[in-house]
């Protein structure tokens, strides 16, 4: 992450529109299919889709890829990510899309290609095939190594499968990333610490730690509402996050973002793009993308009558498969320069290195940062490119307070 920053002038980040349209450096493919829905899931995915739908979606992805390719926009692709849903359920189709990626898009040498996988659908053969096709990272959705926690979460795999899956990835010499969840109702400290130990034990150089959030409308929410399950103590989740930071830190994995830990040099370059204001294309039902206004205009994403002062466009492809197949974009958000600048500062504050003081000042947030500093939520630090604002430990945990004040521009 460090090297890219040096080559970039601050002006380029915010005034991207003056550079003209360009190919997004990052491509995200959303595979909206799962074997079953987990109890806490409120993402865009469906369980038990019929083969026709699967076929149609992947064909549609390839068609969209071709359109990007044909657009002949300047630039190279630095990262590719297959998320979902459960991409590992459909390895052959993923491989086919990867072929198209190689064929239709200009890729940087050493392009990072990540595929998300669930332990119950990742065989050694699949791993081998993915590695062969140029996949460089596999993110395994372990969530927990404790059977009772797995059951409460409604996961369809067990500890053994999880460990095996991680081993398969490590053996194939691919980068391994492990996802774990804390703050689960009924999850004890001991269980959490043991999960962390096992995660570290897999040799993964990248771990994501998520405190569970009970989303309305999910089976988990219903269970909590009806008293079937007692809601987790929010203070427990906080304690667990701190434990994770300590244990992972001791194992050489440094926290580089709110929820992400890595051995330095092994951070997820794709995800880092989200927090650095870099453009990315979203492909697939429910996929999100973000491009500058010139690019949006060039590929027909910009709606007619869009405000003159728009410089950033966030779009979302239709979540409903039928709607997506007929080419629907569900949402298009237009941001002006001021909003873009504040959004960039907000996103960078998710990173442990934070945001440069200069960038925050140029976004008109000097007073807000000063006030956040007074409240002990951010502090100054020195990075390669000078003075930065970064969140303190308290600011990390009370992130929404920081992000809210930055986005809403209030001191």
């Amino acid at each position: 992450m460090g090297e890219r920053e040096e080559n970039r002038d601050l002006g380029d980040d915010i005034a991207g529109f003056s550079r003209g349209p360009g190919l997004p450096s990052h491509f995200y493919f959303h595979v909206p299919f799962c074997r079953s829905k987990c109890a806490y899931c409120d993402f865009a995915s469906i369980a038990g889709a019929d083969p026709q739908a699967v076929f149609a979606v992947f064909s549609g992805m390839e068609a969209e890829l071709r359109r990007w390719g044909v657009s002949m926009l300047p630039g190279v692709v630095e990262t590719v990510y297959f998320g979902g849903g459960t991409p590992s359920l459909h390895v052959p189709q993923v491989l086919s899309v990867l072929e198209c990626v190689h064929r239709d898009l200009p890729l940087r040498a050493g392009v990072e290609v990540t595929v998300e996988a669930n332990p119950d659908s990742l065989s050694r053969d699949s791993v081998a095939a993915l590695a062969e096709a140029g996949v460089t990272r596999i993110s395994v959705g372990v969530q927990a190594f404790d059977a009772s926690v797995l059951q409460l979460l409604g996961r369809c795999h067990d500890s053994r499968q999880a460990l095996d899956a991680c081993e398969a990835v490590a053996d194939a010499r691919l980068e391994l990333s492990v996802d774990v969840i804390c703050g689960v109702p009924g999850q004890s400290r001991a269980s959490w610490e043991s999960t962390l130990e096992l995660a570290i034990g897999t040799g993964a150089k990248h771990v994501s730690v998520y405190p569970l959030s009970v989303e309305a409308g999910t089976p988990l929410a219903v269970a909590v509402d009806t008293g079937l399950i007692e809601d987790a103590d929010p203070d427990e989740a906080e304690a667990m996050m701190l434990i994770a930071e300590e244990m992972l830190g001791a194992a050489g994995l440094r926290r580089y973002e709110v929820a992400n830990y890595a051995v330095p040099g092994h951070e997820s370059r794709h995800n880092s793009a989200y927090w650095s204001g870099e453009s990315y294309a979203g492909v697939g039902p429910g996929a999100h993308g973000m491009v500058d206004v010139a690019t949006a205009r060039a590929v027909g994403i910009l709606p007619p009558g869009a405000a003159e002062d728009t410089i950033r466009v966030r779009y979302a492809e239709a979540t409903n498969i039928d709607g997506w197949l007929t080419g629907g974009l569900e949402v298009v958000e237009l941001l002006n320069a001021g909003e873009t600048a504040r959004e960039d500062v907000m996103l960078r504050l998710r990173l442990a290195t934070g945001v440069s003081v200069k960038q925050a000042r140029e976004a008109g947030l000097e007073d807000v940062m000063a006030s956040l500093a007074e409240d002990g939520l951010v502090e100054r630090s020195v990075e390669a490119d000078g003075w930065h604002w970064r969140t303190t430990r308290r600011g990390w945990l009370l992130g929404n307070e920081v992000f809210g004040r930055v986005w809403n521009g209030e001191g």
Binding site: A259, H288, A316, E343, L347, L397, L398, F403, N408
Partner: protein, 600 residues
């Protein structure tokens, strides 16, 4: 102008939900006053709020033409009345314009508290009472039992009670026949100078104040110059007419007629309900008997969340008071909440309805503080103080004694629930007076209790403990001394005057404890710890703490989460706006009402 002999002025009175309004609808349909296709359920309840809650608040007057069995067409003026205990005042106003009433009793529920109260009012007004047993279509209907109840409980002969069903329309014609044959025609002198009673009014943005009138003597016509006897206002009659239910102008209204009067006057203060309209020159000598001034029973503080809306709130209250003379208000200021009004209502329902109207019709965002009553404070220096707001209560040291309003409440329940009622009243400082069996299935219980106990969700509790069977009516009986103290609430060590309330000293500790616990649940966790304390005269009697927030972060923030997250942050900011910031503590509106829901 109609021959008075062919006029019948009547009201429909009943306990709430016994079917007045449906019956009124049937009357309109039967007399073809409203074309069937225009019939909207319960047309007379023209206010949205009324329709939503299924209650009638405003007395509305409609003229219908009914061709009776004897072949003659009669002019019937139907005045719809509210059935809730809060609106006794409205009922008595409309009764002044009638000669008789249809007394509706639900065939399954039987005689309930307001059936009795309203019947008493009709009797006191010397009106002819025609009992009507309604909802006979229900499987649970027991007309014979109810007939007995009417005779026993009300001493009203019920052998000729009319059986009706508002739903099917059965018996409605018979009811109208009874109106024609049993209710006397209005009596008055056409040759005497004009005397017309204003029994209601409302404000129309284009026409000004519209008064609903009943002509007692003489006549009133367009172009006449008239005088309002109480306000001494002289004005021209711009238009008179009848409500069918839409306005239909006529040349003049004569003895016994009911209709509307438009004078072009815009100031509500000049057209008072209860006033008598007469001629400017050679008018009547004495006005008609007006009504007693109704005393508000319950007070609450209404504050605009945004201080800028204060003038809008004031204007809105002025407009509402026009057709609701029971509404009283005076400016009030609170350290915590800024400028607002202390408003007096006839009861809790009245309060809720007014608050809703203010928010809906006038688009105001309001904060209501817990209701309280009017206290009479005698100070040690001999001074007498009237206190509406707990923050006006002087130092405990300078107070000789405090008096609070007392009520006589009447509760009707089936015998099975007598025990439950006694338990409830026990916890509400009520003294048992007496009890009697109105019938085999209904017991009437009388208590004397402070009004302040009733306004604390007493009615809801009564209903739930008696599975909905109990009904309540109450009557103000004067002031009594009580051992009362003021409970203060402090947030982060600072007293919040808007959260103070007055409580009986025996209950202070318990209430203080429950209140601090409730506030701890309601006040969201902030960036710092918030101690909540309840105190009496500086002495802390209960304490709770809202822990500081330690974690509040959306951990997953990838490509698809960014927009959603930003919207969430904006929503959180908007949410904060609905809270009141008191000394850095964000307090939601519910906190102020928490006092009301305190249960022992």
């Amino acid at each position: 102008m109609t021959d008075p002999n062919l006029i019948r002025n009547f009201s429909i009175i009943a306990h709430i939900d016994h079917g007045k309004s449906t019956l009124a609808d049937r009357v309109l349909q039967l007399t073809h006053t409203v074309a069937d296709r225009d019939m909207m359920e319960q047309l007379l309840d023209s206010m949205d709020i009324e329709r939503e809650r299924g209650i009638t608040i405003k007395a509305q007057a409609v003229r219908v033409l009914y061709e009776a069995d004897d072949g003659v067409t009669y002019t019937l003026n139907l005045i719809d009345t509210p059935g809730h205990v809060d609106f006794t005042y409205e009922v008595s106003r409309s009764l002044q314009a009638c000669e008789g009433v249809l007394l509706i009793v639900d065939a399954a529920q039987g005689v309930e508290a307001q059936t009795v109260a309203n019947a008493m009012m009709a009797m006191n007004a010397d009106l002819e009472i025609i009992p009507v047993i309604n909802k006979i279509d229900l499987p649970a209907a027991e007309p014979e039992r109810v007939r007995h109840e009417i005779e026993e409980a009300l001493a009203v002969p019920a052998d000729e009670a009319i059986l009706t069903s508002g739903k099917t329309g059965e018996g409605v014609r018979a009811a109208l026949e009874a109106v024609v044959s049993r209710i006397p025609a209005p009596v008055g002198d056409a040759s005497e100078p004009l005397k017309a009673l204003i029994f209601d009014s409302y404000f129309d943005a284009y026409r000004g104040v519209v008064a609903l009138i009943r002509v007692v003597d003489g006549r009133i016509a367009k172009g006449m110059r008239v005088r309002m006897m109480a306000t001494e206002t002289v004005t021209d009659v711009e238009e008179v007419g009848v409500r069918r239910p839409v306005h239909m102008p006529v040349d003049e209204l004569g003895v016994g007629e009911v209709g509307y009067l438009i004078t072009g006057l815009k100031d509500p203060a000049l057209v008072k309900v209860g006033d008598t309209v007469t001629l400017e020159k050679h008018g009547a000598a004495d006005p008609l008997p007006g009504y007693r001034d109704v005393k508000p029973m319950v007070y609450t503080g209404l504050f605009p969340i945004d201080g800028d809306q204060y003038p809008d709130l004031r204007d809105a209250l002025d407009k509402l008071r026009l057709n609701d003379p029971a509404l009283v208000y005076e400016p009030e200021s609170s350290h915590a909440l800024g400028f607002g009004f202390r408003v007096g209502f006839l009861g809790l329902l009245h309060m809720e309805v007014i608050k809703e109207r203010l928010e809906r019709e006038f688009d105001l965002d309001l904060l209501a503080t817990a209701p309280s009553v009017e206290y009479h404070v005698a100070r040690t220096n001999g001074e007498e103080l009237i206190v509406h707001s707990p923050q006006d209560l002087p130092d405990v040291a300078s107070v000789e004694h405090i008096e609070e309003p007392y009520l006589k409440s009447t509760i009707l329940v089936p015998p099975d629930f007598v025990g439950a009622v006694m338990e409830l009243t026990d916890g509400h400082r009520a003294t048992f007076v007496n009890m009697q069996y109105l019938s085999k299935t209904t017991v009437e219980m009388h208590y004397e209790m402070p009004l302040s106990e009733v306004i604390m969700d007493f009615f809801d509790q009564l209903k739930s403990r008696t599975k909905g069977y109990a009904s309540l009516d109450y009557e103000y009986i004067g002031y009594r001394t009580s051992a009362l103290v003021k409970l203060d609430v402090l947030l982060s060590g600072k007293p919040v005057d808007a959260l103070s309330f007055i409580v009986h000293k025996d209950k202070a500790y318990a209430r203080g404890k429950v209140l601090t616990e409730k506030l701890r649940e309601i006040i969201p966790r902030q960036m710092f710890e918030v101690p909540i304390q309840a105190a009496i005269g500086g002495r802390i009697i209960a304490r709770e703490t809202v822990k500081a927030k330690r974690k509040d972060v959306l951990a997953k923030c990838y490509g698809g989460d960014i927009s959603r997250k930003r919207k969430l942050l904006e929503k959180q900011k908007a949410g904060k706006k609905r809270m009141k910031n008191l000394g850095n503590v964000e307090v939601p509106q519910e906190a102020f009402m928490a006092i009301l829901k305190v249960d022992e």
